[in-house]
Symmetry: C2
Subunit: 283 residues, 2 copies
Amino acid sequence: MVTIRDVAGESGFSVTTVSMVLNDGPAAQRISARTRTHVWKVARKLGYRPNLFARSLRSRRSQTVGVVVFDITDPYCTQILRGIENHLRPSGYFPIVTDLQDDRSQFHRCLDMLLGRRVEGVIAMANPIYLDAQLLSEFADRNVPAVVIGSALEDSPLSSVVVDNEAGTRLAIQHLYELGHSRIAFIKGPKILVDSMQRWRGLETFAQDVGLRLDPKLVLEIKGRNSTYAEGCQLTQELLKRSPDFTALVAFDDVTACAAIRALTQAGRQVPKDCSVVGFDDV
Amino acid sequence: MVTIRDVAGESGFSVTTVSMVLNDGPAAQRISARTRTHVWKVARKLGYRPNLFARSLRSRRSQTVGVVVFDITDPYCTQILRGIENHLRPSGYFPIVTDLQDDRSQFHRCLDMLLGRRVEGVIAMANPIYLDAQLLSEFADRNVPAVVIGSALEDSPLSSVVVDNEAGTRLAIQHLYELGHSRIAFIKGPKILVDSMQRWRGLETFAQDVGLRLDPKLVLEIKGRNSTYAEGCQLTQELLKRSPDFTALVAFDDVTACAAIRALTQAGRQVPKDCSVVGFDDV
DNA sequence: TTTCTCCGGTGAAACGATACAATACAGGCA
DNA sequence: TGCCTGTATTGTATCGTTTCACCGGAGAAA
């Protein structure tokens, strides 16, 4: 491997000069243009690549950000991953990705990885089931900023980026209301998810605000820990059985909404002609 | 950050001893058990994490493998990625992932990244449209083994892992043949893909071997560069128009197969009752 | 002439680990 | 006592960079 020393020797300038030139930072301005082009030419000729280990070791900047995803095979994660990478690139940073593989017990290992690689920041993408605020605080202790995407951690000073669930469902029901729907069915999310509660609150408060009555017969709830296509179908069928006169349905999320559309179609209803359906998640 | 020096100072042993103990390799066996447990205790107490930059710089081993994916948001890539990570872990290696973002011009940048990070090997996941054998050979020049997943590069000594297209389609048509089908329709892949040709050859040679006649009227080809759902539908409709008596259909890939199922269903045929459909890709 | 101030560039000390050769020491043996 | 051997441990050079203080010389100001 060709080192900066080789470039220095071959070009006739000192290691320091070569370093300044090749880093192309403000310091490079102190070097004459002639020297700069010459050094670049030699570096290119020799095929020089800076050794990032040496660089990071000395400069104490790793130029990397750690990203923890809960499941790399989940398109939700990879979409965000791409966004992260694209935002990082212009400033020369690079994401180091670790995958929880949908297994909470891996969290420690993942963070260890990132700690050893001296990441300058951490983005954790996970629902609270996977996160461990105490482990994350290890980063804070070392002055490494950490941020959570997806859900706010309770009892933690960590910043997080979350969906405004309440505003989202408010928009949904408002839209249906303005279209003239009054018999609206609902499939609430699993009780254990904070999102379920928040999304439901948006619906409820809007209904109150405009004086819309929510018929309890038209409200069902997902029993499992997660929304599933199967349960979405089943709950929709149950709604049709209970009170088939609804003209719109608000589902907890898009998986459930897709399932609902299927169940409605199978029951002979056309969507959206006979029944409007709204989901949540932008899938 | 606490360094190995701190652990050495606190424990009363030398840096070398601490290093040997903490690496827990064969060299650690030369250290007495008492010393070992003591060093470990101190390291744990101080919260010591080895600096991977320093380690890699000195040992000239990065313990990483570079992975180039053509599109991180593609489930195909992430599934393989997970497999790679799981195979790497037991030996202490870690994948450094770079994303081509479906854009060939990024290839150079991605490889640069990996070169600078001194990966000990490279796995490139991409179709030949994205790969540049010459760029990849830069790794070979530096004694970094490189492997391609997905398609063999022509004129390149690089090893690759590929699907046995011919055997695959052979299996498909054989299955249909043994079920008694004789009027079988085909949708061939785009001409520009090597896979298309190979998959077609598997079908053709099997037909020849058993004396099955392939009616040219029942063979259509995808015109675009890639298979698309839309074109799959359209070609299936065309087949139905040309000669509606076929009882089975072999599609180039699963996207096309899904589209075919849709088109057949819309045309009033039941799958697989009225018409069997085979795809390719295990989607 | 002397002193200052830039300009363009240099030398050597880190950074935190590993590798390698070297050493201290206890015990065995003559 | 002196020598040898093997075990447990250590000192120091080194990996390839960046950082920081410094330096020679040319021109300007005193």
